[in-house]
Symmetry: C2
Subunit: 383 residues, 2 copies
């Protein structure tokens, strides 16, 4: 059908609270832009569902979700009541497993996390050039360190050996690196359209208007480090207009703090991307504002999943204190993504992005409740 | 013999420049404290040695170094002349291999990197509580992600699969975690001696005067994440006076930026420790001031290795611009470590630490040459 259908999975902790605000905004946008848009809430995956049914989501969960055009997820993870001596062993892996199952099930091989320090967002760095942070961290989301292969030998004994196997294919390395180059080009074009420019120098002295920085740890993790590097090197010849750069993950973290404004597009493996995106998120205002999405750009029949970078924050859950800004930016990105189904969605996404950004610029830093922030953004959408 | 012998390996790039300043200080300290101390320089491991001999160090290098009480290393790594299109493939792995060989050969299973934001050091964070950063990051230095196991199947083809195997033993996990708890206790005692206190709350409301934070990524890297967590949990019962805490590596990086002053001792795996120490180093003043050491605390016949966290910085090598402060702090730590051989070394180490810190407090932030900084510290040692 022509209707765009969204599966809404609020999840645990602050998830439902921030998702509520996103749904209010979606309702307004549907009206204002006459979107042929519908959504359906799911009580799973969640900790509560797990308690009631012994599993985080039903056996046919992926089948059910597969019927939708996108998944909007709040947050997962609920450690339950903790004491000082059981908390390390409480398996948050149980509640988080569905996240990885959904990413894998729909081959959402790109995790895209833009980091811009928007006006009103908290600035953690002393250097005022931090205001110019504007990077896109692209994380390989389908393999690598997250294949869950390995095991424990002689578990629980003094002779235990735990192995964890990282698996990287040329197939997935190439598609994520190519995606990085394509995004770099797209960003340069968007800047041009807005009469902005950025300049990145290549080692041989040429100046480009975009850059891709590849991150690995190839001096210690040789095998996939060399694979990534060779693919990157070869592909860079196809994109002479994009400056290329290579950082080791430890140096990249350091440079994210020293000069984050110097990065444009960053491509990293699943785990290193996980680390770099959290770091980029805090440097550009913190978890309260950091959007994220898990995309399958190659198969339009598979839903992509949109979830803020933050977790379920059990410490503040249920108190109406969570900042829904990250969720609203994430929802805006979802609408923009859905433009491939219906071009009008892009306009709705832009409206939501702009309303959220304007609210942040005006009130960022003030203490407001989840509902207050949501209502303020809604008011802007109505105006 | 009673003489304490140090192998000095200046290495590549800025290594020899900063090592020179350390040697000047050692000469002064030997005189002032009447140390029975000697040192011997080695032209290897280095890029130049590799060019001349086809290997970074002689076949009997470990045997030669094994005769010394400690190794003082400048920095390794020389990418050679680079062009835009060969640089990714130039294997820095060649020049860095000896570092890992030495760590492994002498079972230097602890990498200890203190992070304190000393007066005069550059403050990257906007929040002024950053002045209170005082943590010790302890990195497992003998196994884990750095075992170099794995390989490349169908290398260079579109069907390539690269695997990288991480191996963690109970043996090494337990010793590094125990080392963390012991250091936490030692730090609390040292604070007491200086009439300082810090307070860390446990989840069940008790207040301790030290803390160990374990870092893993156990929600995605289950096998060793669970091993580390179980060992940590069990051992915490032996140290009820030390507060315990667990962070996932992505959240840890975020919290290093948000509230680094809240950490005391941090224990992490080889790769995650590599990332966290670079991040901690920049947050506490940058690579110019960050000391580091690779210790074998269990076998006194094996030399430990002392090297600053920074690399060989080929971009500024040979210009006399490198800051030797990190090298001098590292040398001070070496002398302190050698107190197990000769207690007077501790006094010499303290003198060098204090002279270097005083110089940093007075001149930090000014542009000075390597030689100027070294001379200023020497002047203080003579005074
Ligand atoms: C919850 C966890 C498994 C997840 C990940 O590591 O991918 C999270 O940190 C994220 O970044 O989405
Ligand atoms: C050079 C490299 C192999 C090394 C490491 O990763 O251990 C370095 O980054 C360090 O931290 O000493």
């Amino acid at each position: 059908s022509a209707t765009t259908n969204i599966a809404i999975t609020p999840g645990d902790g602050i998830g439902p609270e921030v998702v509520n605000q996103a749904v209010n905004c979606l309702a307004l946008l549907r009206q204002r832009f006459k979107l042929d848009l519908d959504w359906h809430p799911f009580p799973w995956p969640s900790h509560r569902w797990h308690q009631q049914h012994g599993e985080s989501m039903p056996a046919d969960a992926l089948e059910q979700l597969g019927a939708f055009d996108a998944i909007l997820l709040g947050a997962l993870g609920d450690p339950g009541p903790v004491t000082d001596h059981n908390r390390y062993l409480l398996s948050d892996s149980v509640s988080l497993a569905p996240l990885l199952q959904i990413r894998k099930g729909f081959d959402q091989w790109v995790c895209e996390r833009p980091a811009r320090l928007l006006p009103g967002a908290r600035q953690y760095l002393a250097d005022d050039r931090a205001r110019d942070i504007d990077m896109l961290v692209i994380r390989e989301n389908s393999e690598g360190e997250y294949v869950s292969q390995g095991g424990r030998l002689r578990q629980g004994t003094p002779h235990e050996v735990a192995t964890q196997i990282e698996v990287f294919t040329h197939f997935a390395s190439e598609r994520i690196i190519r995606y990085g180059f394509e995004q770099a080009r797209a960003r340069a074009i968007r800047r041009q359209q807005h009469h902005q420019t950025r300049q990145f120098q290549t080692l041989d002295g040429r100046v480009c208007d975009s850059q891709v920085c590849l991150v690995t740890k190839r001096n210690a993790l040789r095998y996939w480090g060399d694979l990534y590097t060779e693919v990157f090197e070869r592909m860079s010849l196809e994109y002479p207009d994009v400056a290329t750069h290579h950082e080791l993950v430890d140096a990249a973290c350091m440079k994210f703090v020293q000069s984050p404004w110097a990065f444009d597009v960053v491509v990293a493996s699943n785990l290193q991307g996980d680390i770099l995106t959290d770091l980029a998120a805090v440097l550009s205002g913190g978890m309260g504002v950091a959007p994220s999405c898990n995309l399958n750009p190659t198969d339009p029949t598979m839903p992509s999943m949109f979830e803020p970078t933050h977790g379920s924050a059990p410490d503040i859950a249920g108190q109406g204190l969570a900042d829904p800004t990250a969720m609203l930016f994430t929802t805006a990105r979802m609408l923009d993504w859905l433009a491939h189904k219906d071009p009008i969605m892009a306009a709705a996404g832009l409206a939501l992005f702009e309303a959220t950004a304007a609210d942040l610029a005006q009130h960022g830093g003030k203490r407001r409740s989840t509902a207050e922030i949501g209502a303020a953004v809604c008011a802007r959408l109505k105006a």
